[in-house]
Structure formats: structure tokens, C-alpha cells
Subunit: 242 residues, 2 copies
């Protein structure tokens, strides 16, 4: 292997299907005709991480120590950068950054940036997420930092979204689940959202831009695009320095 | 994490899409409603491994040292068992076993066993593969050991199959590629095959049992099923010993 290979470390398994989806999107975003042109990833696909939703409700063990241990393990295994295709888990980003010195690309930051770029006329951004991610306030903070208000889901809408996300996690990708989530999105659109931000990596497993008349930001896609861009830039710099 | 967690080490990236497909099939084979019931995998998704096809033709660097280093790295990262969702790469299985003491589940053995079980009336097994895997003789040896003849592809059929596999690797999953591969399968069926063994992990990305009147053995599926069975059994034993 060339020493300029960039190894993408993936803190994964939250949920398992979302991690596999992220890997597919990294591959789709990589210009490649042959295997060797694709990017290298080391994926700790660990669905056994304590529930982030329960921890956020104060009802379960913190996933922080496990996430930190995974980051450290990926660093030892050779990761040059770290990503985590789960929005809510970013509530424990500080545990990851304490455990490892590898640069971490935040899904919150890249998704917020993309939503901002698609609403630079001041269009309203609707945040579609789970109760845990809502309670963590990650996106509320990111958009507050950018001086942009958000259209938020009600507690009832968050609960409905969670029930549908749990069905996706159990493997149910049925039209009933899809239409249920589309209904949740329509509530945000009815309240004025012209950009939908899917701030849960299970949502893009069943939803995509073609389903909506407004702009749709997939946090999974945004993280994949940024990851590929950073990795390819890093490899190009490595080649130049050789 | 419970100490009874089994960590599946995946020597991956050959090709990238086949590894992601393998991960999906492991998840599909795992009885799980929630994230935490899924199995843990550490995946070294390394598409940069030297070309197995070129090495088999004596035209390129051996992938053996890289495969051995990946196995060792997965062992250090905590793998309790190793799998490799690529048939041809098993030609370098000895490099893996020299580098690591973690039990290795062979895709060749599990696929051969499954094909034997589906042809216990002595039905003829047709081997559908790539020139490299054909030259390596892995399946010819496995079935010779079992006293079962194979129906083999001609050099021309192998070359056509390879061209179509390369299109799959470049992301082309078109109906033209599918029908081209179905035509290759039909050649084996016309020569008497009543069991088709898809001995290349790119093939099940576009082919499945519903396309054929004869039995269809997907090497990816067989490896996923065996991996899940071994991991769950190991975890059950761990719980009993606690």
C-alpha cells in the first residue's frame, strides 16, 4: 500500500443498517472504476453500544466510554480521520475527542452547513429527528450559532418519528413506515419549512429528495460527501509531498 | 459491553460493494429487533489490496502480505473470528493463518458444503466464477476432496464473466449486466448443472435464486449464514459459562 492511503475510521453500528448505508454512500461519492480507487475504511460496527435514546432520558448507561474506546481502537488500527454516522451519538463527541487525537468530522456541522447553504435566502429549515437528538439540542445549538431559527417538531411528532425509526431499526422498510415519516415531514412543511433536515441516519434509509417538493438534506449523505472530500484531499496532498 | 460479545473480523474491500453486501446479509440473518441484538463486526474495508486477478496471472504483486497484515490488525482490534467475503482471495488463506491465530471461516468450505447439501442426489454442480478463482482451483479442490465432479466454465465463458464482474465493480448493475450473467449461468445449465454455485461475491449483487429454475448457491449468503451461526453459538456458550 502507498503510504498516502487515508484510512477513514468509522464509529458505527448506530444503527447497523445506517452504517452500511453510510459505507455505500461513501463508495457512491468516490470516483472509482476499479476496487483500488475506492477509499479505505476501518469500521467498528458495534450495535452493542448502550442505547443513546435511553441514556439521553437518564434511563440507561452512558455510551460515552464505549464510544471513546472505539475511537481509541480505531486510532490504534490506523485511522487518519474519524466519523460517526449517527446524529444523536454526537452528544458524546467530547468522550471521543478525549480518547483520541484523530480529527473528527461532525455530522452535525456538515449537515447544518449544507442546510444553511440550501436556505441562503433565509428559507426556514425544518428539523426532523428523534426525541433523544432533540433533547441533546445539537442542531438547535448549531443553528443558533449560525443565527438561523429552526422549525421544530412537537413532542407528539417526535414520539411518532421515534416509533417509525424503531420499525426501521427492526428491518421494517414498508410503505406504511415511509408514508408515516412523509406525514411527519409534511407537518414541518405545513408550518413553513422549505428545507427538511433529516437529522437521524435511519431516515435516509427510506426517505429521499424525490419524495418532497422542498429541499431535503440527508445527514448521512452530507457526512459521506464531506468524508470523501476530506480523504481525497488528504491523499492528494500526500502524493504532492512525496 | 458484556464480555460474551463476539467480534467478527471482516477482511474486506474485495470488492467494496461485496463487503457492504456481506454486512447487510449478516444483519439480515441475525434475529434482532433492536440495535443491541445485532452482532459486532470490525471491518477492514481495504479496496487498495493488490489485485487478486493480476497476482493470479503472475502480473502483479501478491496480496498475501497485505491480507496477513489485515488479519493481524483485526486480531489486535479484538476479532474473535475472521471471515473474508471474496472467494479468490482465499488462495492466500495461508498468509492469513500464518499472521493470525484467530479462527478463520472459509467461504470456499461453507459454499462447497451448501452446494453438496443441495445436490445430495448427485445432481451436477455448475461453478460460476472468475478466471483468477478458476485458476486458483479452490473449488475444484474442495469438490475433488468431496468426490464430486463439477461442471466448469470454458476460458471464453470465464473471460465474459470477468468483464461483467468488472462492470459490477465499476457500479454498473444494469439489466444488460444481469442478462449477460444469466446467459453465462444458462451455459452451465445447458451442460447439465442443476445447482449453480456463484463463486464470486460480486455475482450475488445482481443475481439471486428467483432468476433460475435450478438451485442457486450464493457464496456471500453462505458465508453470512455460517458467520452468524458461529457467532451466536459462541455467544450462547459464553453466557452459559458465566
Amino acid at each position: 500500500m502507498a503510504s498516502t492511503d487515508t484510512v477513514i475510521g468509522v464509529i458505527g453500528g448506530m444503527g447497523p443498517a445506517a452504517t452500511v448505508d453510510f459505507m455505500s454512500r461513501v463508495m457512491a461519492e468516490t470516483p472509482a472504476e476499479a476496487d483500488q480507487q475506492h477509499l479505505r475504511m476501518i469500521v467498528d460496527h458495534n450495535p452493542r453500544i448502550p442505547s443513546r435514546q435511553l441514556a439521553m432520558r437518564g434511563l440507561g448507561e452512558s455510551p460515552g466510554p464505549t464510544l471513546g474506546a472505539m475511537a481509541r481502537r480505531l486510532e490504534i488500527a490506523g485511522a487518519d480521520l474519524l466519523v460517526m454516522p449517527c446524529n444523536l451519538a454526537h452528544a458524546w463527541q467530547s468522550d471521543i475527542e478525549r480518547a483520541s487525537s484523530v480529527p473528527f468530522i461532525s455530522i452535525i456541522e456538515v449537515s447544518a452547513e449544507s442546510a444553511m447553504a440550501r436556505s441562503d435566502d433565509g428559507s426556514a429549515i425544518g428539523l426532523m429527528t428523534t426525541p433523544g437528538c432533540f433533547t441533546a439540542g445539537l442542531y438547535q445549538q448549531a443553528f443558533s450559532d449560525r443565527g438561523r431559527p429552526l422549525i421544530l417538531q412537537t413532542a407528539g411528532e417526535l414520539a411518532t418519528t421515534m416509533a417509525l425509526v424503531e420499525r426501521i431499526k427492526s428491518g421494517d422498510l414498508s410503505s406504511e413506515v415511509i408514508s408515516g415519516l412523509c406525514d411527519q415531514a409534511k407537518e414541518l412543511i405545513a408550518r413553513g419549512a422549505t428545507v427538511l433536515l433529516a437529522a437521524c441516519t435511519e431516515l435516509p434509509l427510506v426517505l429521499d429528495a424525490s419524495m418532497f417538493d422542498v429541499a431535503f438534506v440527508s445527514s448521512t449523505d452530507e457526512l459521506a460527501r464531506k468524508t470523501v472530500a476530506v480523504a481525497l484531499e488528504r491523499e492528494q496532498q500526500g502524493h504532492q509531498n512525496q
